[in-house]
Symmetry: C2
Subunit: 251 residues, 2 copies
């Protein structure tokens, strides 16, 4: 069997999320359907670097799967793209070591979150940004971004639905925000994320930007370990899984 690593993009707008479900169109469902066709009806299970929720997009999601097929990487890419719907696109395919696992081997993941600050909503961007036409103090947001960086217990920034039983300690290597015309883009680079963690951080950063709470709250929230004390979860449509990094020797 060959282990295949696949970097994909998807527009999350018309999906019920990554993970296959009894009802609703899912990214996993569409990719596994395409692979089944390529494997003459045999089921091929795919594994993502992490699931994404309904409405969340990916610019550089990574998946892996095992296959008996021996296509060259160009052939793989063409065959898969020709069988996938237009809102999923395979960017790159490579063969990986048999031990490679795209979830356990990931050393860094980047998420971005795009906020549209223009006064009026843009109908063409409604599924791709969070429209938030309110005044923001960018200095306060930048201060809070720096406080989020580093190794912390992110319990306050994880959904009550997070059922992972392990440690809630994660390390964010870099948290930044960048203004470009009327868009504000947050970038988070870290070793891992709890459920809804990015969206809760963004909700909290926007509250800080509006002056509804202080940047220094971030420190308190790390200590309090209580989801109810952080701000509301920002909506899904602004969120992008931007990229996943692996050590060179695992691929």
């Amino acid at each position: 069997m060959n282990k295949v690593k696949c970097t994909i993009q998807y527009d999350g707008a018309n999906f019920s999320g990554f993970q296959i479900q009894p009802r609703g169109r899912t990214i996993q469902g569409e990719i596994e359907r395409a692979l089944k066709k390529m494997h003459k009806g045999s089921y091929v299970r795919i594994h993502p670097s992490g699931r994404t929720d309904k409405g969340v997009h990916a610019v550089g999601q990574v998946i892996h799967f095992e296959t008996p097929l021996h296509l060259d990487v160009h052939g793989w890419k063409q065959a898969l793209n020709s069988m996938l719907p237009k809102d999923i696109h395979v960017k790159e395919i490579t063969y990986a070591k048999s031990t490679f696992h795209c979830r356990y081997d990931a050393i860094e993941k980047e998420y971005r979150y795009i906020v549209d600050r223009s006064k009026e909503p843009n109908v063409f961007r409604q599924n791709y940004v969070f429209h938030f036409p309110y005044e923001l103090h960018i200095d306060a947001i930048e201060e809070a971004c720096l406080l989020l960086q580093g190794k912390h217990d992110f319990t306050s920034f994880s959904s009550a639905k997070d059922t992972s039983k392990g440690s809630k300690v994660r390390t964010l290597y870099e948290v930044s925000c960048r203004e470009d015309a009327e868009e504000l883009t947050f970038s988070f680079r870290g070793d891992g994320y709890l459920y809804n963690m990015v969206r809760i951080m963004v909700g909290t950063l926007l509250d800080i930007g509006q002056g509804r709470r202080d940047a220094a709250d971030i420190k308190d929230l790390f200590a309090q370990k209580d989801r109810t004390l952080a701000s509301a979860t920002a909506p899904a449509q602004g969120l992008y899984l931007w990229g996943v990094t692996y050590p060179k020797d695992t691929i």
Copy 2:
């Protein structure tokens, strides 16, 4: 009764076109539904400057309707936007003369068509551009654009489904194409358009750009008056009704 003129934007991706139909979500259906709510259940018919097809977008479509209501223009805009789905947005509302008709009074309409020339399709733009990753001779396209300008019989550039019985003569005031990074945007400003006329012109311009036919064909096509001699109709998702112009004294 008051005559209301309304400039709207819509993302055509999830509509079966402008005109109301027994099945399928339409722009007219959604706006009339919102107006019906505002009028306590009374039906209010809207009239567009022209229909748009399934998948076609609008940046500046204009509609009008009659109403007994006397809201100020800000109130109208807020009320309507609060009742419309997110893929339709009212940009501007004004009261117009009782004789105003947004179709018959229009003196100019602009359409744009966006072609994405990047090698790989962008999943986030699939509903908003025509992905066409082939080499193009822009000089030939520009030459053909100039030949399209002016007053001509556009029979060769209108769908066989065009059932209008009047003249097929239209005047294009300006036809241009602009390159910006990997996007090529065509702009058409004219006094009116036949059914599918912009999309057939774009299909023909792209054939000319690929060297599959000569720019001089445009002149022949005007003379031949035969749809089958022009090129294929370019797909709907790249097309935008960009704006409609009225003489000042009609509004």
